[in-house]
């Protein structure tokens, strides 16, 4: 039981620790030659956003992915040529979420 309590305390301590966003901030502050923003629905949790980031970063040309979960916006950045929008949308679907074109509900 003592071990369990210690483990629980360690988990709670980890919960209280702020996340390290240093690398993300560094990437966000860089300037990129091309960007494209997708509207995505159903991003309800941090794991969800991680899935989308992982899928999009697997595409050639995508160097940084910025996600605004509240607004439902996913922006991909690149210093080379960005992939076709259909490929970007397919990656979002593969992550388990729904991309929406302007004008669609």
């Amino acid at each position: 039981m003592k071990k369990l309590i210690l483990l629980a305390a360690a988990l709670l301590a980890a919960c209280a620790s702020p996340m390290d966003n240093t690398s993300a901030e560094a990437s966000a502050n860089q300037s990129y030659s091309s960007s494209y923003t997708l509207t995505v629905k159903g991003m309800s949790c941090p794991n969800c956003a991680n899935n989308i980031t992982h899928e999009l970063k697997g595409l050639t040309g995508v160097e940084y992915v910025q996600i605004d979960m509240g607004a439902g916006k996913v922006t991909v950045h690149s210093n080379s040529t960005l992939p076709d929008v259909f490929l970007l949308e397919e990656s979002v679907r593969s992550a388990g979420f729904t991309p929406v074109r302007d004008g669609e509900k």
């Binding site: 369990l4 483990l7 629980a8 629905k41 991003m43 956003a49 979960m69 593969s94 388990g96 979420f97």
Partner: protein
């Protein structure tokens, strides 16, 4: 009283689809890892028992995502006194997904598989046993709900051991849960972790002598690539024969996303 508790649990499970959740600590969700992603989950559960030794269990689950809608999973339980239990090999497919807002979603998935006789003699059913279930997950703003029903079938040679899933015959498990995101109140442009208060209700309905209902309040902390779980396991009703009742328990868990 047990009937009232069971009815209440059933009503919670049935009401859940009308509302909207993350995968809580003790209830399945209609979510799957992204295509090609691996999602290991580890849960350590400690139970205090009435007139018997405490129980310490470790449950390992590994999920692998296919195409954004499906996942295969392998679940291996371990009892620190008895050894490895029967592993479950299964498949989950999400056949309905209505993403209705930036955060809001309604998802329905079916799952099923086989329990394999990998366990030690004391805690194995010694047979290949099927299970089949369905789960609804709904998230609306800061609130989420999950509801699941699973049918387990166990062979005739099952020993009466520590848990309700090991007793011979058929058993229906009903799970209902609610999650409330306490932080952040609103998601912003920053990529943040989220903390939830969760409440799981789990009913094991295996007829007389094998019925248990549990209610488990807890915490869930979810970062982009891992999640931490903590729950207090409280029995609301236990009608069990051949094994000691459990007084209460504690769960700590860790999920990783690769």
């Amino acid at each position: 009283m047990p009937r009232l508790v069971l009815t209440t649990s059933l009503l919670i499970a049935l009401a859940a689809p009308a509302a909207s959740a993350q995968q809580t600590n003790l209830t399945p969700a209609a979510t799957t890892p992204g295509d090609g992603r691996i999602y290991p989950e580890t849960q350590l559960r400690w139970y205090s028992r009435d007139g018997a030794d405490d129980v310490l269990e470790l449950n390992q689950r590994l999920s692998y995502g296919f195409g954004g809608k499906s996942a295969a999973f392998l679940e291996v339980p371990y009892d620190f006194d008895e050894g490895v239990g029967d592993a479950r090999l299964g498949f989950k497919h999400r056949f309905l997904q209505l993403d209705i807002g930036s955060v809001d979603t309604l998802r329905v998935a079916a799952f099923g598989g086989l329990e394999l006789p990998t366990g030690t003699d004391a805690i194995s059913t010694d047979s290949v046993d099927p299970f089949l279930g369905a789960v609804i997950t709904s998230i609306r703003g800061r609130f989420g709900w999950n509801a699941a029903a699973t049918l387990y079938s166990t062979g005739d040679n099952a020993p009466i051991t520590r848990g309700p899933l090991d007793v011979e015959g058929e058993l229906v498990k009903l799970d209902g849960s609610v999650a409330w995101r306490v932080d952040p109140v609103e998601y912003g442009a920053d990529f943040v972790a989220a903390t939830y208060l969760v409440l799981d209700t789990n009913a094991y309905l295996g007829g007389s002598d094998n019925t248990e209902v549990w209610m488990s309040p807890g915490l869930l902390y979810e970062a982009p690539d891992f999640a931490l779980e903590l729950s207090l396991l409280l029995p609301l009703s236990q009608d069990v024969a051949g094994r000691p009742e459990r007084d209460y328990g504690v769960l700590v868990g860790l999920r990783l996303l690769f």
